[in-house]
C-alpha cells in the first residue's frame, strides 16, 4: 500500500486543441479527503474523468490506489467508486433494484446483491423509498442512492464530482454527513466543488484550480488566510462613497464596489475598527458595517487577480469580481451556501 491514494503529475487533456486541463499536479494522501475547488469550466470534471478512466489524458501521469490510469485502467475501475454531477441511475427501476443490478454487474450472487442492497438502503436512509421507482425520488434521495450505488462493493478510493449541486440545505447537510462517514471509514476521497464552504467543511486539504491549472493549494484555513481571512462590507450612502473609496485606497486597502457597498478584504477583525475610524476621521457617514468570510468569488478574484477566466467560462468570469453574495445566481443552492458562508441572513 502506498502513501498516496491518488497521485497526479502534470496532467493534461485537450479538446479540439484547447486545453481543458493544462497542467495539474496534486496528491491525495491515503485515507484523506481532498477538495478540488474551481468555478464552472475550470477543468474539475475533466480531471475526474481522466482519473476514473472515462477519458485518457493527453499528457502527464495519474495513479489511483497504485494503478496507472492509462496502463491499467481495468485495475483502476475495480478500485474506485464514482459519483458524478448527475445521478447515474435507472429511473424505471426501484432504488433497491438499482443496487441489486449494480451488485450483480460486480459479480455478486443474487443473495449477496440483495443483502448488500438492504444494508446500503439502511445506511443511506433510503429504507422507506426502497421499493419505489427512482423517478419518484427527490434530488437528495437520488444523490444518496447514486453514492450508495457506487459503493455496492466497498472501495478504497471515492470520487465525488460536485455531489451537492442542486440540493437543498438539509439534503446537503445529510450528504456531508455521509461523506464524513466514508472518510472516517478510511476511504481516500477526491471531492470537487464550487463552494468554498463545502470544501472548507469537509476537506483535509484543498486544491484550487482555474482554467485548467492549480492556482493554490493548502488547508482551508491557509487559503482563507491568503485571501485576507475576512471581508469587511461598508455601506456608504450617496456622495460619501467616492471619498470613502479613495480614502481606503490611500490607506493601501483593496476596495471592491457593489452598489452602495464597499467591499474590503481584511486579515483580522480588529481592522474593522481601523476602517470605521479612518472614515469617521474624514467625516464620511456610514450606514452599516459588517464582517464576513470571503465568498468563493472573492477567493478566486484574489487568487487569480481577476484574470485567467477561460473563454468558455463567461459565467465564472462575471462572478469573479469582488461582489457580495447577494448577486442573483440561477442556482438556488449556491445562494444558500453563500448565505451560510456570509452570515448575512
Amino acid at each position: 500500500m502506498t502513501q498516496w491514494g491518488i497521485e497526479v503529475e502534470h496532467l493534461r487533456k485537450e479538446f479540439d486543441g484547447t486545453a481543458a486541463v493544462a497542467d495539474v499536479s496534486f496528491t491525495v494522501g491515503a485515507g484523506t479527503l481532498l477538495g478540488l475547488l474551481g468555478p464552472n469550466g475550470s477543468g474539475k470534471t475533466t480531471i475526474i474523468n481522466c482519473l476514473t478512466t472515462v477519458l485518457s489524458p493527453d499528457g502527464g501521469r495519474a495513479v489511483v490506489d497504485g494503478c496507472d490510469v492509462v496502463r491499467d485502467p481495468a485495475q483502476v475501475r475495480s478500485r474506485i467508486a464514482v459519483t458524478g454531477q448527475f445521478a447515474a441511475l435507472d429511473e424505471v427501476l426501484t432504488g433497491r433494484d438499482n443496487l441489486v443490478l449494480f451488485g450483480r454487474l460486480l459479480r455478486l450472487s443474487k443473495g449477496q446483491a440483495r443483502e448488500r442492497a438492504a444494508e446500503l438502503l439502511d445506511r443511506f436512509a433510503l429504507g422507506d423509498a426502497a421499493d419505489k421507482q427512482v423517478r419518484t425520488y427527490s434530488g437528495g434521495m437520488r444523490r444518496r442512492l447514486d453514492l450508495a450505488a457506487s459503493l455496492v462493493v466497498p472501495r478504497r478510493v471515492v470520487f465525488l464530482d460536485e455531489p451537492t449541486t442542486g440540493l437543498d440545505p438539509r439534503s446537503r447537510e445529510e450528504l456531508w454527513q455521509t461523506i464524513r462517514q466514508l472518510r472516517d471509514d478510511g476511504a481516500t476521497i477526491l471531492l470537487t466543488s464550487q463552494y468554498l464552504e463545502e470544501v472548507d467543511r469537509l476537506a483535509d486539504r484543498v486544491v484550487v484550480i482555474d482554467a485548467g491549472r492549480v492556482i493554490a493549494e493548502g488547508t482551508g484555513d491557509e487559503l482563507k488566510e491568503r485571501v485576507g481571512g475576512q471581508v469587511c462590507e461598508v455601506t456608504v450612502p450617496g456622495a460619501g462613497r467616492e471619498a470613502a473609496r479613495d480614502a481606503l485606497r490611500a490607506a493601501s486597502r483593496e476596495v471592491g464596489e457593489h452598489g452602495e457597498l464597499l467591499v474590503v478584504p481584511v486579515t483580522h477583525p480588529s481592522q474593522l475598527v481601523e476602517i470605521v475610524r479612518l472614515l469617521d476621521d474624514r467625516g464620511i457617514e456610514i450606514d452599516n458595517v459588517t464582517l464576513r468570510r470571503p465568498s468563493l468569488d472573492e477567493v478566486f478574484f484574489t487568487l487569480t487577480g481577476g484574470a485567467g477566466a477561460t473563454p468558455d467560462d463567461r459565467d465564472g468570469a462575471s462572478r469573479r469580481g469582488p461582489t457580495p453574495q447577494r448577486d442573483p445566481t440561477p442556482d438556488g443552492v449556491r445562494g444558500a451556501a453563500a448565505g451560510a458562508d456570509g452570515r448575512r441572513s
Binding site: 474523468n49 476514473t52 478512466t53 472515462v54 477519458l55 490506489d65 481495468a74 485495475q75 475501475r77 475495480s78 478500485r79 474506485i80 464514482v82 458524478g84 448527475f86 445521478a87 447515474a88 441511475l89 435507472d90 429511473e91 424505471v92 427501476l93 443490478l101 449494480f102 450483480r104 454487474l105 460486480l106 459479480r107 450505488a149 457506487s150 462493493v153 466497498p154 472501495r155 478504497r156 471509514d185 478510511g186 476511504a187
Partner: protein, 261 residues
C-alpha cells in the same frame, strides 16, 4: 475493506455481465407502452392492411393474407431496432452508460446486453405477428426448418438494424431526437420495398432499386421461407445482405461504443 473486487476481463465476465444487462434492458422496456407496440399495433397493421388491400390483390390473384405478414415482421424488426436506439440514447442521457464505463464492466457486455435483449424482443414480435397472421389465413407451408429459418432471419435482420441504431443512439444521447430521426430511414426503406405491394407495382425505372433493396430482399426471403417451396437463392441473397450490413453496422456500433463517453 475489499480492494480490487469485481473484474471485467474474460469470457466469464462478458457473459455474466452481458446477461445481467440484457435482463435489465428487457425489464426496463417491459412496460404497457411496449405491450401496445408489440401486440396491439401488429394486430392493427395485419388486419388493417388486409382490409385495405386484401380484395384488391385477391382480384389480381395474389393471396394478400400470405403476402402481408412477412412484411409486417420486417417492419417490426425496424421498430425493435428503433426503440433500441432510443433506449441506448436514454442510457447515455441518464448516466447509466457512464456508470458502466467507470465500473469494472466488460466493454463487450454493454453490446451483448443490447444484442440479447433485442433478440428476445425481435423473437416475440416475429411470433406475435405470425400468430396474428395465422388468424387472418397466413400459414407456414415450408415445414419446421423453413419456419425456424423464417424466425432466425427476422431476428438477424433486427440485430443488424440494432447495431446501426445503437451507434446513432449512443452518439446522440437524446432519446426523443433519436426516435424521430430513425423514423425517416425506416419509413423510406419500408415504402421503397416490396413490403406492401409487389415490385411491378412501382414505376419501371424504380423497379430494379425496389427489387434489390435489402429490405425487399429480406422480405422476399421471409415470404419464400413461409411458402410451400422455400428457395435457397432467395434466402442466400438475404443472408448476404444481412452479413454485409452486419459487418458495416457492427463496425460502426463498435466504434460508437469505444468512443462514446
Amino acid at each position: 475493506m475489499t480492494t480490487a473486487a469485481g473484474t471485467e476481463s474474460g469470457l466469464g465476465n462478458l457473459l455474466a455481465q452481458g446477461t445481467v444487462l440484457a435482463g435489465r434492458n428487457l425489464r426496463h422496456r417491459a412496460t404497457a407502452e411496449m405491450a401496445v407496440m408489440f401486440v396491439v399495433f401488429p394486430l392493427i397493421f395485419v388486419f388493417g392492411f388486409l382490409l385495405l388491400f386484401g380484395r384488391l390483390f385477391d382480384a389480381r390473384g395474389l393471396d394478400y393474407a400470405q403476402f402481408l405478414p412477412p412484411a409486417i415482421v420486417a417492419q417490426w424488426m425496424f421498430t425493435v431496432a428503433n426503440t433500441s436506439g432510443a433506449a441506448s440514447a436514454a442510457d447515455r442521457a441518464c448516466g447509466m452508460y457512464r456508470r458502466c464505463l467507470v465500473m469494472p464492466v466488460n466493454r463487450g457486455a454493454i453490446a451483448l446486453g443490447r444484442v440479447a435483449s433485442e433478440a428476445v424482443w425481435a423473437f416475440v414480435a416475429a411470433v406475435v405477428i405470425s400468430a396474428t397472421g395465422h388468424l387472418a389465413g397466413f400459414r407456414f407451408h415450408g415445414g419446421i426448418a423453413a419456419t425456424v429459418g423464417f424466425v432466425a432471419l427476422a431476428v438477424a435482420f433486427a440485430l443488424v438494424l440494432t447495431a446501426a441504431t445503437t451507434a446513432v443512439g449512443l452518439s446522440s444521447g437524446d432519446p426523443a431526437a433519436v426516435a424521430a430521426l430513425l423514423n425517416l430511414p425506416y419509413l423510406a426503406l419500408i415504402m421503397l420495398s416490396t413490403a406492401f405491394v409487389p415490385a411491378d407495382a412501382f414505376p419501371g425505372w424504380l423497379e430494379p432499386v425496389i427489387r434489390n433493396s435489402p429490405v425487399s430482399v429480406v422480405i422476399e426471403a421471409l415470404r419464400s421461407l413461409a411458402s410451400a417451396t422455400p428457395a435457397w437463392t432467395e434466402v442466400r441473397g438475404a443472408l448476404v445482405w444481412v452479413a454485409v450490413l452486419g459487418v458495416v453496422f457492427g463496425a460502426v456500433a463498435a466504434r460508437a461504443l469505444r468512443r462514446t463517453r
